[in-house]
């Protein structure tokens, strides 16, 4: 967040990022040689990726040499909450089609609200309300078909 105060000497993050990006550029360069140039093409599919990976690699090396400022990395408790959200949303994406939209979303909304600091007596009714209104909004108002619950044709 923009108001979080940057730490001025935390160069390590930039150095790691520079190394990762330099490796990425190198990998992209190397892999682009496997793209076969087709019939009568003066410029093959590998040229543009190579053109981009050169400045990416050079700038990444520069970043390693002259790192800038980073923001403070999260505390342990915050990290747990963040991983929780990613895990929750990942699971939601997995069960969305097998379980159908309504049950998967109801569980996801309630748990997500808990994660964002709601009490159970707030999360349960409002989570249900949000889940159902999303269903009504997308399925009916916007006409976007959502996955049905198996054995439950509505």
């Amino acid at each position: 967040m923009s108001e979080a105060s940057p730490i001025h000497h935390a160069a390590l993050g930039d150095r790691i990022a520079g190394a990762v990006l330099a490796l990425l550029a190198l990998g992209a360069w190397w892999h682009s040689h496997t793209f076969v140039t087709g019939f009568m093409q003066p410029v093959g599919p590998g040229v543009f990726p190579r053109l981009v990976s050169v400045p990416l690699g050079v700038l990444s090396l520069y970043l390693i040499a002259r790192p800038g400022i980073n923001q403070r990395w999260p505390e342990k408790a915050a990290l747990v909450r963040q991983l929780g959200m990613l895990l929750l949303l990942g699971c939601y994406a997995v069960v969305l089609e097998p379980l159908g939209f309504v049950p998967a979303t109801l569980v996801a909304t309630v748990l997500l609200m808990r994660l964002f600091g709601a009490r159970w007596r707030q999360a349960l009714p409002y989570g249900a309300l949000l889940g159902l209104s999303l269903y009504l909004l997308f399925e009916f108002a916007l006409g976007i078909p959502l996955p049905d619950t198996p054995g439950w044709s509505g």
Partner: protein, 332 residues
Amino acid sequence: MPISTFVTPRRLMASSLLGLGLAAGLPAQALPIDECIAPADPGGGWDFTCRSVGKLLHELDLVDGNVQVTNMPGGVGAVAFSNVAGKRADDSNLIVATSTVGMTQIAQGRYPGDADTMRWLGMLGTDVGVILVDDDSPYQTLDQLLEAIVAAPTSVVMSGSSGAGGWDHIRALMLAKAAGLPGDRIGALRWVQFDGGGPAVTQMMGGHVDAVSTDLGEIAGFIESGDVRVLAVLSDEPLPEPFAELPTAVSQGYDVTGYNWRGFYTGGEVSDEDYASMVDTLHTLYESDEWKEVAAQNGLVPLWRGGDAFSDFVRESIDNVEAISREIGVIQ
């Protein structure tokens, strides 16, 4: 981007009631085709095929509700082809637009599969190739253009909506070959691919390329407005009105024709029964006066091949294009 259908419950009811009423009088009422994949962005030939046929299927009450058109661009149809082969091989509600352009891709091994991967439903009409230059181009006739190409292949930049080796390009190369360009110099010709016939023509009007090889249907508006000069249409006979004045390549002494038919396939695991009924639905559509009218407006000549006859024709087309591609050097 997918385009979602919006079917109000009332409309759904009305059309299913209508379906009941008709069921008594008609043999095996067609299954509801409810989606057409156009393997390209909106605006091109495949998109037009899906949209016009989808709309007519709905208006002629051959289907329940609307036919949803899904644009799935990528790899000149390869993305849609692999999607249907992998995920929706048995979906009998789905049709996918294709044409000679798709056959060219299959013939050159650019799709993940061959003709046996899909079931070929039918073709409804055919578009015809044209060779165009800008209205103030120095080339007045096809002879002049081809002479320039044979004299100095690098001096003329041609363009169209297919990639190098695609159907638009092959048609141009067939002409160059007929004019006497030796096989080993064909690689010197310049070819530029744009997103469609329309963009290719406007780039030609801007002076960035010299000539365009594409389908008549995509650029008919520019012919009518007089912004371009048609050097040749690649049909056996002169076209019907309003394009009757355009000279054919054959009449100018070059024995080259190049059609681009429009048709549909569906997944390879659709049952025989469903397949037959989908072919019937499309045939009914083809027989309607409305289709003839839509086709004429868009520079298509109505032409029907369906079911097994069409499947044989598809295999024959692929073999033909493969032979031409080999001859020109697109595939080794």
